[in-house]
């Protein structure tokens, strides 16, 4: 039984969280969040994989050819779009945070200004 892809997903999740917790730069933090999110892509694709199967695309390939699960691939697509949306919004917030506080260090954002 091979569990390597699942372990890679778990590792990416944990290492991305470690990066976010120890980050000293908001842009670095957002990249770490992207790494954390990529663990879900690997998990989804790994769950739907069949050994030796083809992609679920039957263009000039007869229907009935052994193919991997198309549903998890569609879910991964959704996942990637959400990740893109989150990154764009967070980067915009980072631009504003830098304008207000003059710093990109997350720990310097603890002071509230009225």
């Amino acid at each position: 039984m091979s569990v390597l892809p699942y372990l890679v997903a778990a590792w990416l999740l944990l290492v991305g969280c470690y990066g976010m917790v120890t980050s000293r730069n908001l842009v670095h933090l957002i990249v770490c969040l992207s790494v954390t999110q990529s663990s879900t892509y690997i998990l989804l694709l790994a769950v739907g994989y069949k050994a030796g199967a083809k992609p679920p695309i039957f263009f000039e390939v007869p229907v009935g050819t052994r193919a991997v699960d198309p549903i998890v691939q569609a879910l991964t697509l959704t996942d990637i779009v959400v990740s893109l949306a989150v990154s764009a919004l967070l980067l915009a917030l980072t631009v504003q945070a830098h304008k207000r506080s003059g710093s990109l260090d997350p720990s310097s954002l603890t002071i509230l200004k009225g």
């Binding site: 569990v3 699942y6 739907g48 992609p55 039957f58 198309p70 893109l84 764009a88």
Partner: protein, 254 residues
């Protein structure tokens, strides 16, 4: 909380999470041994029922069509949010310049970058449109192709001046094109209601499997998403570039 304390709290939590993850992994079916019924059923029926050879597209735009509508609006909301957050604010005028060497001249762009960008722009844009239009046949679709189209617009900036980029991806035009893509998806969905069936029910002819005009509404929805994502990416890029370049220009004129 100090960095050290934060790290200790994290390591304790991460250790627990890692243990739970390992426990969960041990209960998963072994890799490469997918058993679930739905994927196998769709792989067998989707081509015959929807005349789309790309089953992933059939799932995204037909079987899960309403979810994709929501997904499209997540992206739409993110573009609106980015535009709102990056809008010019009154307080910005008082900000001191970060760049101390304001008299430093920007180095001229190399010919290699200019020519490379010039060649890439057309190719990238065309490839993006191809991916959008063939989404129901081969790998690709509105989201993937839209991103490539948006990248093609970005290469215009890389190969030329910011002013040229603004002419290609004018925020005024994109502000209209982007919602038009999002609204187009809803209009196609309403087409099903007009025919007396449910929202997003396929009302277009299915055509011959494997040909470009086939698979009913799937290529139309792909095109709507492609327009929305392509325009959205170009808009996001334009907003971010505006932030740095307008400030820089203000410094140069001052």
């Amino acid at each position: 909380m100090t960095r050290r304390a934060r790290l200790v709290v994290f390591l304790a939590g991460a250790g627990g999470l890692a243990a739970l993850l390992l426990w969960a992994i041990s209960g998963l079916p072994s890799f490469g041994n997918y058993q679930g019924p739905y994927g196998n059923v769709l792989n067998h029926v989707a081509v015959g029922a929807r005349h789309a050879t790309n089953v992933v597209s059939a799932v995204t735009f037909d079987y899960r069509g309403i979810d994709t509508l929501m997904e499209e609006f997540i992206f739409f909301t993110a573009v609106i949010g980015t535009t709102l957050l990056l809008r010019a604010q009154l307080a910005e005028e008082e900000e001191p310049a970060d760049d101390d060497a304001t008299d430093r001249r920007t180095p001229a762009m190399s010919d290699a970058v200019r020519l490379g960008g010039f060649v890439m722009t057309g190719v990238t844009f065309l490839f993006g449109v191809y991916m959008v239009l063939h989404g129901h046949l081969t790998p690709g679709g509105g989201f993937q192709g839209g991103i490539v189209v948006g990248t093609g617009v970005l290469t215009v900036y890389l190969a030329s001046e910011y002013e040229t980029f603004l002419r290609v991806s004018s925020p005024t035009v994109l502000d209209v094109v982007e919602p038009a893509g999002a609204g187009g998806y809803i209009l196609v969905g309403l087409g099903g209601l007009v025919g007396g069936a449910s929202f997003l029910y396929n009302f277009l002819p299915l055509g011959v499997t494997g040909q470009l005009p086939s698979a009913g509404m799937i290529p139309v929805l792909n095109a709507a998403v492609g327009v929305e994502v392509g325009a959205g990416i170009a808009l996001i890029v334009a907003e971010f570039l505006e932030q740095t370049l307008q400030v820089r220009k203000k410094q140069q004129t001052a």
